[in-house]
Every structure is written in C-alpha cells, then in structure tokens.
Symmetry: C2
Subunit: 430 residues, 2 copies
C-alpha cells in the first residue's frame, strides 16, 4: 500500500484559474514570497506545535499533474495553462520552522519564494497538511505533558478519515506518543504499533476465560487482556488464571477509570501479578489523563480527543502573499490585515534556557542575535530540491521535547491562558 501517486489535484480550483489568468497577463513570472502563519493560537492554548513539514516535502515531490488530471483540467483552464501544468515542477525555495518546533501568533512558519505561479499553486496543499498535522500535534503534546512520563498509545484511527488517521498517528508520535494502533503509519512512517483486543474478541468465545486463554496462546503472555466486558473483578481473576502472573497487561476501557485502576492494582498484586501493567482507555483527553496522575496507571490509550485536536481540529493557519518583486504587499480593509514583507524570526531565551520572547522581523533588517537566541527558520527546499535531513521524524520528536523543556512553566499548564511567550513584531516598529 503506497500513498497517492500524485498530489497536485488536492487543490482548490481558484489556484489554477489564478495561474491561468497570470500566465495570460504576464504576472505569472513575478517573484513572489508567500508566508504560512497563524494569526492566533486556538482559544486558550499556550503554544502550537509545527507539524506536517515532512509530509509536505514528500507531497511536493509528488506534486505533478498526470494525464488524467490534465484531461479534467482542460475543462477548467485554457490550453496554454494545461501545457504549463503538464511541465510543472516546483523550482523555488522554501524556508520554515523545523518540524517539532513551537510556534506562536505570527510566527513565519513557512516561507515559499518563487514565481507567482510556482508558489501560489502550493497554497491549498500546504495549508491542508500544516493545519491538520499541527492541530493534532498541538493537542497531543498537551496529553504527553499531562501523562507525565507514562506512555501514550494513539488509537483514534476509527474516529477520523482513514487517510487523516495515518497523519494523526504521525503527528501524535512526533508529539511524544509511544505508539499507534494504525498499521499504515508503521509502513509509511516507521512508527511503532501496539494493540490489545476488542470486546468482540471476548464475545466471540463461549466464555471470557477461554477467550483469554486463546489470546495468550496465540500472542504470548506479554499480551494485554481486556477485562471489562462482563465484570472487571472476575475478568482480572480470569486473566491471571489464563495467563499466569507473568501477564503483560490488562486494559480497562469504561467506568470510573481512577477507582478501577486502584482496585485492579490491589487485586493484581494480591494475585502475585505485581509486574502486570494497567492500560486505561475510553474517552481520555488531556484533562482526564492529568486527573489520573495519582493513580496506579502504566499507560493510556487515546482515541477521539487526539485525532480531533481536543476541541481544535484545525490550526487556522493562512498562506499570504507578502512580497512581489521585492515590494512588501498586504491586504488592508475591514479586518484580517497581515504584515507585508518577507519575515524571519528568532526566539530569545534566558541564560537558563527558558524562552522569553518570539521576535518576528523583516528578513532584510535582522536584529542582533544574542548568545541565547535561536534563529528559527531553516532552508527546507532550494531550487526545488528538498534539503537533506529536514524531513526526519525522530529529529522532530527530539526537537519538540527540547522546545517544551524551554517553555516557561506557566506555558505548560492545561488551563486556558495567553501564549506562553509574547510575539514582538519588529517590523511594526518605526
């Protein structure tokens, strides 16, 4: 199973009609800079996590209009444009925050430079990938913080679009989840998979104990037995009877999870299964996970809340033209203004490493970079070529772990609040 061969039609119609009109009036070749950024964080959130970079770079290499696509487009744009699209290869530059980095309001997360036609055509796909993946990673990172070192398994595939599910598994892993239930995510992204059994497994059998015995026989004593189909206390007795005290884990998927975990731990210990772990699942989100911190839980299975961004399923990023032939441009009417001109950013830190400020500046007027400042954008694509190493998922995972350590402690609180650090726009200053 491989991903789609082509990605170029995953695009809004107006991108291509704008290309057609720009080819016709000669503006298609103007040198443009587009910026992808979020005007604000989702309400009450304190940071965002940049995710999707690796997927976008991979999609960029498959951004080709195939014969079937071009046939369709013959009814949408003129013949010259169809010819231009047939040969389309992105040949511009992309700079951006490395994947796994934090972002704040106005952070120039991605900067695409090229001709107008080269760069405008990537708008929809870039936004789809970043808005989705960053929303999931941003929610997942809060869950990882709430779990305080206990492993998390992403198991939400069934609650989201089947292809989005694979991207969710990747984003959650980037954010620090330990594994996913999704097999395609293992194939495509090398993410470890995990799984237990469904209630159907128990109901299929004549009784719970024979279901457990079969599962242990087939999958080994390190497996996880689901003990809440009938009566949890009886279920745990059956589990240890079937597997012995070397049983890997039990899973509880319903009820008052904290209370049940305490009872289960006591019962398991009483049976001598002191090494058998307890996995909890069932409508967990970051708040429920945090509330279980004092309980004897070994890991969490998280589904719906992570794949729906825990209340914020899209990151609300936009892709705006900020420069044409070296001239800053920006919309200025009733609302939704943006800042013109190509920008970059750095993050200032205290000598202790704690971050204090996101500084966004005009790329042609960089401020002095202090010893504790980090310039954030890095080259991702040069002349259409993806740069080495910029799509490394493990590196992104490490990067996020490090970035979260640097956030002021208030910034890691789950409660609603202001962004963890303020954004200063030097470009606004006289």
């Amino acid at each position: 199973m491989t991903p789609d061969p082509g990605t170029a039609l995953l695009t809004d119609r107006y991108e291509l009609t704008m290309v057609a009109a720009a080819l016709a009036d000669g503006t298609a070749s103007r040198r443009c800079v587009f910026e992808l950024f979020a005007r604000r964080l989702p309400d009450g959130r304190r940071y965002g996590v940049v995710a999707g970079t690796g997927r976008l770079l991979e999609a960029l290499e498959r951004f080709r209009f195939g014969p079937e696509d071009l046939e369709l487009l013959a009814g949408v744009v003129d013949e010259d444009t169809v010819d231009w699209l047939r040969d389309y290869r992105f040949s511009g530059d992309v700079d951006g925050y490395p994947e796994g980095e934090l972002y704040f309001p106005g952070s120039p997360i991605l900067t695409v430079s090229g001709t107008f036609a080269d760069a405008v055509i990537l708008e929809t796909l870039a936004l789809s990938i970043y808005n989705h993946d960053s929303a999931i990673a941003s929610a997942a990172a809060r869950m990882v913080t709430a779990a305080a070192g206990r492993p998390l398994i992403e198991m939400g595939s069934r609650r989201t679009h089947e292809e989005a599910a694979v991207a969710c598994a990747r984003a959650a892993y980037l954010a620090g989840f330990g594994a996913t239930s999704n097999l395609a995510a293992r194939l495509r992204h090398g993410i470890p998979t995990a799984g237990t059994a469904a209630h159907a497994w128990i109901l299929l059998h004549d009784d719970e104990r024979s279901a457990f015995a079969s599962q242990v026989a087939a999958l080994g004593e390190s497996t996880t037995l689901l003990v809440d189909t009938f009566d949890i206390r009886q279920g745990i007795d059956n589990a240890i009877a079937a597997a012995g005290t070397g049983l890997g884990a039990i899973r509880i998927d319903s009820g008052d999870l904290g209370e049940l975990a305490r009872q289960a731990r006591e019962q398991l210990d009483g049976l001598g299964a002191t090494g058998t772990k307890i996995v909890l699942s069932g409508d967990l989100d970051e708040y429920a996970i945090a509330s279980l911190r004092a309980e004897p839980v070994d890991s969490y299975g998280v589904g719906t809340s992570v794949v729906t961004g825990s209340g914020h399923p899209t990151a609300g990023m936009v892709y705006k033209l900020v420069e044409v032939d070296g001239r800053p441009v920006s919309k200025r009417s009733t609302s939704k203004e943006s800042r013109g001109g190509r920008k970059a950013a750095l993050r200032r830190h205290k000598p202790t490493g704690t971050s204090v400020e996101e500084v966004v500046y005009r790329a042609d007027a960089p401020p002095a970079v202090g010893p504790h400042d980090t310039v954030l954008p890095v080259p991702l694509v040069r002349g259409g070529k993806v740069q080495a190493g910029v799509d490394d998922l493990e590196a992104a995972r490490d990067r996020l772990r490090g970035a979260l350590v640097s956030v002021p402690w208030e910034g890691l609180k789950l409660s609603r609040g202001e962004p963890a650090i303020p954004t200063t726009f030097l470009s606004d200053q006289p």
Copy 2:
C-alpha cells in the same frame, strides 16, 4: 491522480492480531454479525445524516493486502495469518441504511455478516469512513437548511487533511451544497467545482483595477471578483469599471457581512449591475448563514465550519459484535452496554408523510409494517459483491432532500434539542 491502490492497512493492529488468534483457536470461522451505529447524536443535534456508504463500498473492493503490506505484517502476525490475509476477499453480506438517509440514536446504520475473521477486519476502515463522512454531512445539512435555498460552495479543503478534504467535498455535496473548490472531488466523484480568486491575486498586480481587468480577460465577465482587499466601495466601482454591468458576481470575505451585502447591493444596483450576484465567505457556519437570511446575498462560501463538522468533527459511531452463530451477544459491565442480536429498523410516518418514530427491532421478529412505514436497511453487499446502484451519490443527495422534508419542523431548528424523532427499541420489550 487515483486513490490509494490498497486500503487494507488503514486498519488497527488489533483487528489482525484478533484474526491471528481466532485462526489459531478455530473461532475465526464462527458466523458473526457486527453492527455499526451511534449510541447518541452529537450533543444538541436533532438528526444525523448517513454518509460514506459509497466510499466504503469502493474501499471494500480495494481491501487487499499487497506484497509490501504482507512483508510488514510478517512482523505482526504468524505465517498462517499472513497466508490467510494474502487471499483475503470479503465474501460476506452487508446491509445498511442507504446513503443520505437520516439516522438517530441506535439506528442500525450498517450490518456486516460473515465469519468472524471476514467481518472484524473491516471495523477500523468502516468506522473511519462513516464517522468522518457522516459528521461532515450532518453539519452540512444544517447549513443547507439555514441557507434556505441559496447555493452553498464548500471551500474548506485547506482546513483539513488533504485526503479528508476530498471526502468533505463529497459529503457536503451529498448534503445539498452546490459545488466545491476541490478539484480532486471533481475527478473522483464528479462534483461541480467553483472558485473565485484570492487576495494574493489583487496584491500581485500594480493596482486592483488591473487585477480585475486581467481576471475578466482570462476568465470572462461571468467570473467572481474579490472586492475586499483594500476598500470595498472602491473595489465594487473598480469591479464594474473592469467587467461592465454584466459582471457575474462579487465576493466579500471579511467584515460585517450583512451590512456589507446591503451596501454592496445598493451600490451595484446604482451602477446598473442589477444582475451581479453577491457571494459571501469568511468563517460562516449555520448560525451565521441563518442570520444573513434577510440580506441580499446570492450564495455562500463555507470553509472551516463544514470540514470540521461545525463543532462535532466525528460522529462517534461504533462497530459492535451482536451475534455469534445465531446467538445474541453483548457487553454488560460498567457502561457502554449495547443490545445483542441482529437488528433492523423502520421509520413510522403520519399519513401526511411527517416522520414520527424510529423503530429498531430484532431482525428475526419484525413488527407489522404499516402503509406509512419505511423499512430502512437495504442490501449493500451480497456474498462480497456490491449491489447495483447503492453507491449512487446523486440518488443519495435526492434521498436526503426527501428525508429532511419528512422531519417534524422542530427537528430542523438549529438550536440544541432532542432528536427530531424518538427511537423505540422493540428488542428491549418483553
């Protein structure tokens, strides 16, 4: 651009480890019935829309484990199971609510019958598709009601995963949207596309009027000009100066949309452009659309709210084993009980056609079907073969239109409330 060749790995790991254990202990061949249903509607919603049927049936035909998949799975399940998966073709039966039908709590939306192994393996994919597509269609249908006959364009691709975007376009069209911005949705599903231009188009040019003139030259006077980049009043003057009074439409994407629409209509009429239409966009949801009902608006472009299910991005459906070798089964512990036994349903209506009740019954004990009752499930797959016509998107669109007409008027209110009609479970009665 064609969809993924295979869909079988878009699956949770535990589906396959359960198959492995069931092949080992002989239960894999037990005759099973699984039911896909929603325990409840999203909070405050009055009906749900069944969507995804056509996509699931198409995915079912591509549900094959290819060589690359099997190589990966050799590390997950034993060799016998890999062999079994290599030959896997679903050979069972599927019955379900036709696509575009309404559903209510407990409606048996999909019923999959076959051996345990045959049927369990479809769980994740079936839920992914139905949970996503039904969430989108259910939100979109409310927007269509709110628009009261004015056309809606789905333009949310950039706010959701790039493949989910194609499914969103399909679900919104099913629900009564007139078009989508997504080109892949046209290729794969034949959905009409529409589009205007972005603010980038205006900013690319030396001034607004030359941007408008180029767009009209390239795309014709029937095009839609985006007039809110600088000053809307000046923008409308420029639009008519560039296109003449035969201009197709203007679009306003920001500001107080109702007030701006009134002013724009007056100005356009004053300029003689009485046939030029007004398209509004910019964070519209069903409530904003309803609030614009009295304004001179001709169509709406809807993005974020439709692709995120307007607050409910997943439908929360589950896939439960209800029958094994003719014996009803169900989980019965702390919570989340379900009803055992294969079920069907009918909808009772008044002689006027207004629906009054969803009746869910054991399939082996059907009630009398009155002259105004509709039995809801239909055969979708028989012996692995998809039945003719059951994946027809236009038919689904017509079906939903008809079903919404039959809902009691309170059921179409946008405000939070109870389901439009109650569900009666005959299976619960003695």
